[in-house]
């Protein structure tokens, strides 16, 4: 009898909690967008946003051209698609870590957020949403520029849209979870907190097979790369957009050429195995990041770090 009375009360509390979380998320996303964009008109803002990834894409194109001289087109697709989606890796992870630094050091607002009824987890995710959406737009534009001007072969009819959507959404969960972990670390790190997101994302360039197949790495680095969920996510996105495993032509070392997958190692995984790995990674990283953040936030409170200023 008492249980029957308590159950609706529990559901009501849960509903209220979800509603409060959604409200915090919405307001934080709007705040994030205002902070990101209010320093310039939309055209200037967008130009600055697109300039960096476009320059990286052009740099990769010239590096590819200077060596390959137009051959082994599959490798260019591998490189270009990875680079386009790597923008999301940088922006999502850096966006979340940056939120802590920005609120604590630049605007000195973090202590007020903590003393308000705003839910911290939705707040963090909301603040990073603007950066993630801009990154998504940037990735789309990079792909369009690649197809229209740089010789990237993407056929809309061949794109496996279902796989692309599933991989993409699961990838976002992984990236956001890693970003939350970095945001937690940023709470405890004195100085360098502002760079921690970009720095980690930069390191992932080596350990995600973004620019080269993991097959060519020394054994230890190869194992590290295969332990990174981003490796499988990028492979999934490349495969979905290409309409299958990307194949290239390379020298066989005896004067001839050989045609095969750019990464034979990743080609061993079919789409379902890839999905399983990404799904498990997403679930595991979401749960772990939640508990890790709660624990580290408690540590930060215990050490009086929520309102600490470390800039110099």
């Amino acid at each position: 009898m008492i249980d029957a009375i308590r159950r609706p009360a529990r559901y009501a509390a849960l509903r209220e909690s979800i509603r409060e979380g959604a409200r915090t998320f919405r307001i934080a996303a709007w705040l994030g967008w205002q902070i990101e964009s209010n320093w310039a008109d939309p055209f200037v803002f967008f130009s600055f946003t697109i300039l960096r990834p476009l320059a990286t894409a052009l740099m990769l194109l010239v590096m590819y051209e200077v060596v390959a001289r137009g051959q082994s087109g599959g490798y260019f697709s591998y490189l270009y698609i990875s680079n386009a989606f790597f923008v999301l890796v940088i922006q999502t992870m850096a966006g979340l870590a940056w939120t802590i630094f920005d609120d604590r050091e630049a605007y000195k607002m973090l202590k007020y957020i903590f003393t308000s009824p705003a839910r911290r987890f939705p707040y963090l995710l909301g603040r990073a949403t603007a950066k993630t959406l801009v990154a998504l737009l940037t990735a789309t534009i990079l792909l369009a520029v690649g197809v229209l001007f740089l010789g990237l072969h993407l056929n809309l009819a061949q794109i496996e849209w279902g796989w692309a959507v599933v991989y993409f959404l699961l990838g976002l969960v992984i990236l956001a979870s890693l970003g939350v972990v970095l945001a937690g670390i940023a709470l405890l790190v004195a100085r360098h907190g502002e760079a921690i997101g970009e720095v980690t994302a930069g390191m992932l360039l080596l350990f995600s097979g973004a620019y080269f197949p993991p097959d060519i790495l020394p054994p230890v680095l190869k194992q590290v790369t295969l332990a990174m969920p981003i490796t499988y996510w990028l492979e999934g996105m490349r495969r979905a957009l290409n309409g299958g495993i990307i194949v290239g032509t390379a020298s066989n070392g005896r004067g001839g050429t050989i045609t095969g997958p750019i990464s034979p190692l990743l080609a061993q995984f079919d789409n379902w195995r890839l999905l399983l790995i990404i799904l498990l990674s997403a679930a595991l990283s979401a749960v772990c990041s939640f508990f890790f953040y709660r624990w580290i936030e408690h540590q930060a409170k215990e050490r009086g770090m929520i309102d600490r200023l470390t800039g110099y």
Binding site: L58, V67, L205, L206
Partner: protein, 271 residues
């Protein structure tokens, strides 16, 4: 003159001694850039590029340290100082902003050289790069002249950034990868000059890193790269740039400081 030297010493001090006290830079500014540079090395290896290209990337990675120092610790520094409240104190003090910037430049050069040299040495050892040291004296001359030009450009940018608020932050971000591309940080500059429109080549030529890298690559990897110009010509251009940039910085700084005062931007924060 004595005041200028004292100011330079005072401003360079935290950068020179700070490098030894805050050891986290070993991770953030050597290990991380090295990992990043390694990604480009493996890209060339995956493309079966000639081994000299690995050397080009390592050299580019070392030179990137100076460019990042120029952007974040020279150009944006006055913006940071404004945020922290130091800029008002600089202006109130009897010294000049030019002397402060020179001090920043000297300190920054020391820090960056420590980092660039470590990256170059570790990268060279790990990836087995073989350099030709027969023209080391000429290479050293190129490097010194390039640094004068580069830090001169940093001072010019500082004066412009003095006027800006958060744009300074965004401009610094926007000048990172595009400059890596335009200066041929990871590939021979001649390839860029032959494949981009003339106006972009002009932008590239104005960045001292471009000709510095091209000349250094020609001197340290002779016969393995086609330079845009002979190294002697490039060093002359860099020398000219150094003079122009430092003279421009002097006049721009005075002008911008005046404008910043007129528009009340010296103490304007969070905009």
């Amino acid at each position: 003159m004595r005041l200028v030297l004292r100011t330079m010493y005072a401003r360079a001090y935290p950068r020179v001694f700070g490098a030894n006290r805050e050891l986290s830079w070993v991770f953030f500014e050597i290990f991380v850039p090295l990992v990043n540079t390694s990604a480009f090395v493996f890209l060339y290896r995956a493309l079966h590029a000639p081994e000299a290209y690995v050397g080009f990337v390592i050299l580019g990675g070392a030179m990137a340290t100076y460019w990042l120092n120029i952007l974040w610790m020279m150009a944006s520094q006055l913006y940071w100082d404004k945020q922290e409240g130091n800029l008002e104190l600089y202006v109130l003090s009897p010294t000049s902003l030019m002397a402060i910037l020179l001090g920043m430049g000297v300190g920054g050069l020391y820090m960056s050289t420590l980092r660039a040299a470590t990256i170059a040495v570790i990268g060279t050892l790990i990836f087995g790069v073989s350099l030709d040291g027969s023209q080391w004296a000429f290479a050293l001359l190129v490097f010194v002249v390039a640094m004068v030009a580069l830090y001169g450009l940093g001072m010019v940018l500082s004066s412009v950034f003095l006027m800006w608020g958060r744009e300074a932050w965004q401009v610094s971000l926007a000048l990172t990868e595009p400059v890596y591309f335009l200066s041929g940080m990871n590939f021979p500059l001649s390839k860029l000059f032959s494949s981009v429109p003339g106006v972009l080549s002009l932008f590239s030529a104005v960045i001292p890193v471009s000709f510095a890298l091209d000349a250094l690559r020609q001197l340290l990897f002779p016969g393995q790269i086609i330079g845009v110009l002979p190294p002697a010509t490039e060093v002359l251009i860099l020398g000219g740039m150094g003079i122009v940039f430092i003279a421009s910085a002097y006049f721009l700084l005075k002008r911008m400081e005046w404008l910043a005062k007129v528009e009340a931007r010296l103490s304007l924060r969070w905009q």
